[in-house]
Symmetry: C2
Subunit: 304 residues, 2 copies
């Protein structure tokens, strides 16, 4: 028997878009990718970009549920942020629909810290709901990336979260600051350099000072030029691990165990950093975006 | 009576060079500036760049003492780092001279933290010695800049110091990260936005998270686009004030009082941030580089 799709899921971000045929158990039957992220559309209309992404899937008589920046103010239709804490059901009650009805769009989530300063996510909420291995799960979920998110889930709801600009700061400082000057492109001793950076990063320090050690150690010959990148990567991720734990503990949560949402090289790096910090880290099963989109569609009554 | 110069001082950095006629009390009689920093020489030889900078001063029968990146490995002659702690006299014993004898060059200083990681300065050591208002002075000196230095002086010697990449991280993140996207160029309410950033920066937080608030507050309309730059500037400087105090206290020093070395807009910003943090900050008298070069020349016995 062939598994039939029950939903077309779309993860439409800034730089790319991905479409899934999703089965009723949340598994991905097929996927397609496009480079037409919302900032790379040029003069192409959203509808045309979707048609191009879906191809012959466009004729399937299925709902289409999308998450990510497609629901931002710069996207196809704005799906205003839902305030945390928010359950799957609450989120599903705040979906937006494009003017032509082609796509239903999941809203992002907004949380405020103790001093009222907002933090936002858009797309990650769907991945978190897809990552839960039981509907009433509680725990700490870490989504590594350009802007990493640490999300505390309380009985199946997104209770609060915190963003760290780890990936972007790493990339920007390496490319545009003095730190990249002594970095060379050889393979180096990657694992050791990364671990050395992690050890520095998880310690008590301030990143604007610690980063400078990537220069001074290279200047004095104590760090090979080929190892600068991995050292910096380890330091930034290590510092996030430290800061995220402090954030979680400050919010009264257990930070001795986390779930990493992601399956790529970045997730592997985070797993190493968590191990170095003595945090038990497990990985969510792959396919979190598709599974999350299905769960939201189910909560909205669009899929049986 | 006309004051006569006793030394030609040269502050030769990465992006520019400045020459001084220095009187025997350390005051500047005249100064000249060139855009020929060591990374902007192109095919111009160091000797030709110096001749261009000095002009008719080249015929004055005076020693010429230089500090800054001109003494680095990429400079005219390498003046290897002197280990901290270092006195004025010790530094003066380690001067380098260019092959043609045209210029005597002050070495930089290298310090190691408790875990042995090096930190370096080159040029700032001269400013610190020029900033002391008594030969045996002790205290905390802060030199704001691209790479700010916090220097603990103990009985007239540079005991230890710590670099913060405050200025460079601010500039790089504003220009190349998502934080600059919502920043607009109007005047805004500059003082209030700066103060708001300082308040955030001096608090306990992690900069990779706190920086993101420049985006989220602008997204929600709680920070005007025209105020993003000042908010970020205040946050970065505020965080340095916090981190520098923690560094100083960790090293066992009093951090309730500092001397700011610098007289420009940046020094004004630091003074505001120190005031907000309850730190008593005074400014060193202007002309620290020229005065420091004279004191080093005197300690070397080159000037009576």
């Amino acid at each position: 028997m062939v598994t039939r799709p029950v939903l077309i899921g779309v993860d439409w971000g800034t730089t790319s878009a991905r479409a899934y045929q999703v089965a009723d158990d949340g598994s991905v039957i097929a996927s397609r990718t496009s480079e037409r992220g919302i900032q790379r559309l040029g003069t192409v209309a959203f509808g045309d970009a979707l048609a191009e992404l879906l191809g012959d899937w466009a004729s399937l008589p299925l709902h289409r549920m999308a998450c990510g920046m497609i629901g931002s103010r710069q996207g196809w239709v704005e799906a205003p942020y839902v305030d945390a804490p928010t359950s799957l059901r609450a989120l599903a009650g705040r979906l937006a629909v494009t003017p032509d009805g082609a796509l239903t769009v999941v809203p992002g989530v907004l949380a405020r810290d103790a001093s009222g300063v907002p933090d936002v996510m858009r797309g990650e909420e769907t991945e978190v709901f897809g990552a839960l291995d039981a509907p009433q799960r509680s725990g700490l979920y870490v989504l590594p990336g350009t802007h990493s998110k640490w999300v505390h889930v309380e009985q199946g709801a997104i209770a609060e979260f915190c963003t760290f600009m780890t990936g972007e700061m790493y990339a920007v400082m390496l490319a545009h600051s003095i730190l990249g000057r002594l970095a060379t492109d050889g393979a180096g001793d990657a694992d050791a350099a990364f671990a050395r950076g992690v050890a520095r990063g998880v310690g008590a320090g301030t990143i604007t000072h610690d980063l400078f050690s990537a220069r001074t150690l290279a200047l004095t010959g104590e760090l090979a030029g080929d190892d600068v990148r991995e050292y910096l990567s380890g330091m930034m991720i290590g510092r996030e691990v430290r800061s995220g734990r402090i954030w979680a503990q400050g919010a009264g949560h257990d930070a001795s165990e986390v779930t990493i949402v992601g399956a790529d090289d970045l997730a592997r790096r985070y797993a190493l950093a968590f191990a170095a910090a003595g945090v038990r880290a497990t990985r969510a099963a792959a396919g979190t975006a598709a599974r999350g989109l299905l769960r939201i569609a189910q909560a909205a009554g669009m899929v049986g």
